[in-house]
Amino acid sequence: MVAKKGSRGGMGGEDAEEELTRVPLQAILLADSFATLFRPITLERPKVLLPLVNAPMIDYTLAWLESAGVEEIFVFCCAHSKQVIDYLESSKWFDQPNLSVTTIESYNSTSAGDALRLIYEKHVIRGDFILVTGDTVSNMSLAQALKEHKERRRKDKDAVMTMVIKQSKPSPVTHQSRLGTEELFMAIDPDTKQLLYYEDKVDTSKGIVSLDKALLIDNSSISLHNDKQDCYIDICSPEVLSLFTDNFDYQHLRRHFVKGLLVDDIMGYKIFTHEIHSSYAARVDNYRSYDTISKDIIQRWTYPLVPDVQFFGNYVTKLERQGAYRASDVGLSRSAKIGPFTVIGSGTTIGNYTKVSNSVVGEGCIIGSNVSIDGCYIWDKVTIEDGCKLKHAIVCDGVIIKSGAVLEAGVVLSFKVIIGRGFVVPAYSKVSLLQQPVKQDSDEELEYADNSSGNMEIASISNTPEKLEEEMRTELSDSQIQAASEVGNGGVGFIWSVSDGGHEEEWRHSVAPIPEDCLVEILKNATDELEISNEDGNILPPSGELEPDSVNDSDEDVRDDSVHFEKEVEATFLRAVHENVKEDHVILEVNSLRLSYNLTSTDCAGALFYAMMKLALDTPHGSPGELVKNVASVITKWKKLLKYYLSSIDEEIEVILKFEEMCLELTKEYSTLFVQVTWFIGFGVLYKF
């Protein structure tokens, strides 16, 4: 309604008349993700200040907004708001020419919805604005999207929002995008680019997406995409804010607001999409996207927001061969190997024979000799002593890793943790100085649902970090004893227990690449489920699939049979021993068993012998010598029975083999006596009698 043409792309209008109504391009930057995926790190530092390739995430977002022509940015801070404001002050973002940055502080907002309601009350947004979170990395030009948005607005007042999307194929196996988010289904009108359907929590196991029938009736054509990525960059009209105020239960931008608008057709508000092709846009949502976006930055997809361009306050690094970036004052040992796609910050020293590859190392780190670092994100002032091995881990500021420690894939070490000498941190574990909150919302959904308990706790932590630290110092002495056991000798920190989802969900969002066996398992599960669903649907499986299954079944049956047979024979034999049944009767019984299980006499010999040896073993004995005596007595007692079945050399061999098998698998005690007992069996039993 205001500034239709004048502020196109933030450029001045030609007419004086339009110039008057021109509103500077505004943006709302939410410096809080209202999620807990980055815990435990985010308990001590807000997510937007976490370094991404050695520059805080918020710098990427602000630098992009500034270069895209945004003139006024409102930074909404909630958790750790003081830290965010302090950072913005110290980093000169407040005194940029042609850009005004204002912070809005809140202590009790628990969701994006609350934040927008608060901003609405302040009446600072005067025209169309851009809504982003403080963890967005992009180099897209907003001019085109803004122009489209404004033109649509002129024609149709109800076009309240333009969402920026980008093509990105989800993995067919894990059904998650390369950013680690769930597979997203969108229905878009191919002509008008209107968004008709948005679903990011599809039950992919069934492979079913259900669309409203009305969608197909109302629209002449629909294109359904699962290869689009939501960039979480929205161009909104001022109505969006009032919509949030009207619907006070809207919390999440996508789950509530977008879906709410799409479902509710009474108001008739429409959301449109704008697809970007050559430029880059992504949001750091979880550890996996942290990894992916870091690598995209190193591979320069985000140019000019790359480490060797000083886009804002970051140290200059020089790009070298194979995509390795190195600051000028790095102390690098001659024998250290810096692999491809590695960033090394200023003031870092690296010792002899250390290998670093695919990693980001921050400023002022000390890395010892013979250390191997692969795919890790090491932040500032970290000390890694000699001989450590790190693989796909995130290591926060001030961590000390004592010599010989090993970090397995997917480990996250929060601030100032100390890992003891030679300790192996298990895969996907998170270590923090803070203890895991007892009542923790393991599920994101929960956090939105009950906004009091879980979040008040975070707020209290965030508001008094100093106090907390003090507490910790006093507590450290007693807690250290406990902690020491958790992270090795001399270590400090608590290993957080894995959330309810267990490992199954851990690998999805971790920095580590998805392990092969996980992929295989998923594939297997997927096919299994497919079969089950097929059976449910009464669809006959194709014959080709059936056959191998049946073969497998029969194989298994055979194995099962022989096991059952052995057990039966053993029971019979034991009964004979305890109840003094005659040998002939035993032979009769074993023979009938043999017939019923359809086996050969060789099997009977094996099974009987097995039963005898078991009996000898079960008879109480003190030393190996006694055990040999036991064996001798049992065998001499039942020699007739055994002899009946040892009619040929084949059976004798079978018995020896059976004994060997027993020694290897079942009764380890015999293994030391193998020679003795075999001797006994071989000569004493078979030839003497």
């Binding site: 993995s171 092709h277 992916t292 985000t302 886009f311």
Partner: protein, 414 residues
């Protein structure tokens, strides 16, 4: 003062964010910034040339560090430094010329020598440099008074300054600044008219019915070709230029101006080169050895041209002349831009998945901007002063830059 500093900072930020592109625009903005910087710079009474040089060096260092890839910034800063030195020298010689008769028996000499060791040092250095510099044709003709005065200055540098301490000090202060700004204005003029200067020579190089090949988009090249067109020469042009396809934009513009234009792909250059009479290209920078830093793909064109004995002509304004050698560690030869110019990210997003396998991608895209063409592949340079052989470049550079400024870095103030 704060005004200038904010201007400098703003410019530095723009350079850092790569918002200013193209060497001519950068050069012009840099020199304009330096002009306003000099005009607002307050100079001390004594030793002002050195003070000014130090101040300009301080700013220049910042500007160069902001975008080390854009060599034009450094070139312009060095030019301005050179201008200051020259003006200082000419003032000094003028003063000596004026004083030589009147102040021969002056006693102040001994007293003032101690006060101004720095200035005399620079004066000596300047003189020494003048003496050392190989006498090019221009210097031989123009600098007769300078070289003649050089021995004088060495002995009476402090003397001249001492004289000016009294009444005419202010006028000298102002005079130096005034002269410098005047000369800088000339430089601005020179940079902004370099296209026309170069284009004027077009008729001498392009003849009737010739086929010309160029690569990428260069404003200089376009002006050059259009100038030839205006002189009623008819010819055909080949253009191209992956990955940025600036050649397409150039083709459009040339066609709009009525030039017969053909677009070919980069890979077909060798196939077409035998039909070409001349290759005319722009440059990013011309190094001291006559090598050229140019848009990517030019080395291939140059090799093809050499194979078929086609003249390879490089157009470059003087602001592109860089006094550094390509092996100098300060020269960052290349910049890698976003790979999205080569590949569509969405299309290849499944190949760029870091989530599986070893965590490193199997597909890696590199998009360098520049190429280096060694001097032996270049037939001719056309600058605004005329055509030059690659081997002559170092002489031109000696004319435009002073050897002391090759490394623009503040050491101790000496």
């Amino acid at each position: 003062m704060p005004d200038v500093h904010s201007l400098v900072n703003e410019f530095v930020i723009k350079l850092k964010k790569r918002k200013i592109e193209g060497s001519k625009a950068t050069a012009k903005l840099t020199v304009e910034l330096l002009r306003s910087f000099i005009s607002q710079q307050r100079l001390p009474h004594s030793n002002q040339a050195a003070a000014l040089i130090d101040a300009v060096k301080a700013v220049g260092e910042k500007l160069i560090a902001a975008n080390p890839v854009e060599l034009a910034v450094g070139n312009v800063v060095r030019r301005v430094l050179h201008i200051i030195r020259e003006e200082d020298l000419s003032l000094a010689t003028a003063a000596v010329g004026g004083l030589s008769l009147a102040a021969e028996s002056d006693d102040e000499d001994d007293i003032d020598r101690d006060d101004h060791p720095v200035l005399s040092a620079t004066a000596v250095a300047a003189a020494a440099r003048n003496a050392l510099r190989p006498p090019s044709l221009q210097t031989l003709l123009e600098d007769i008074p300078h070289s003649a005065a050089a021995p004088h200055t060495s002995s009476s540098g402090g003397d001249s300054e001492g004289k000016s301490k009294s009444a005419d000090k202010n006028s000298v202060t102002r005079k130096l600044k005034h002269n410098v700004i005047e000369a800088v204005n000339e430089l601005i003029q020179e940079i902004s008219t370099c296209h026309e200067q170069i284009a004027e020579q077009a008729v001498e190089h392009i003849h009737q019915n010739e086929v010309i090949l160029t690569l990428g988009s260069s404003r200089t090249v376009m002006e050059f070709l259009c100038a030839a067109k205006e002189k009623k020469r008819s010819f055909r042009v080949f253009v191209e230029g992956a990955p940025r396809y600036q050649g397409h934009a150039l083709a459009k513009e040339l066609a709009a101006r009525g030039l017969q234009t053909t677009v070919i792909t980069d890979s077909s250059v060798f196939a077409m080169i035998s039909r070409v009479n001349m290759v005319i290209v722009g440059a990013h920078a011309v190094m001291a050895n006559g090598g050229v830093i140019a848009p990517v793909g030019l080395n291939m064109v140059a090799l093809a041209a050499q194979r078929h004995a086609v003249p390879f002509v490089v157009l470059a304004g003087v602001h592109k002349l860089c006094p550094l050698y390509p092996h100098n560690p300060e020269v960052l030869l290349n910049e890698l831009k976003s790979p999205s110019e080569l590949l569509d990210f969405g299309e290849f997003s499944d190949c760029l998945d870091f989530g599986s396998g070893t965590g490193s991608p199997l597909l890696h895209v590199v998009n360098p901007v520049f190429d280096y063409v060694p001097p032996n592949l270049v037939s001719l340079f056309i600058t605004d002063t005329g055509g030059h052989n690659p081997s002559y470049m170092y002489r031109l550079i000696a004319d435009y830059y002073s050897a002391d400024d090759l490394v623009v870095r503040r050491k101790s103030a000496s």
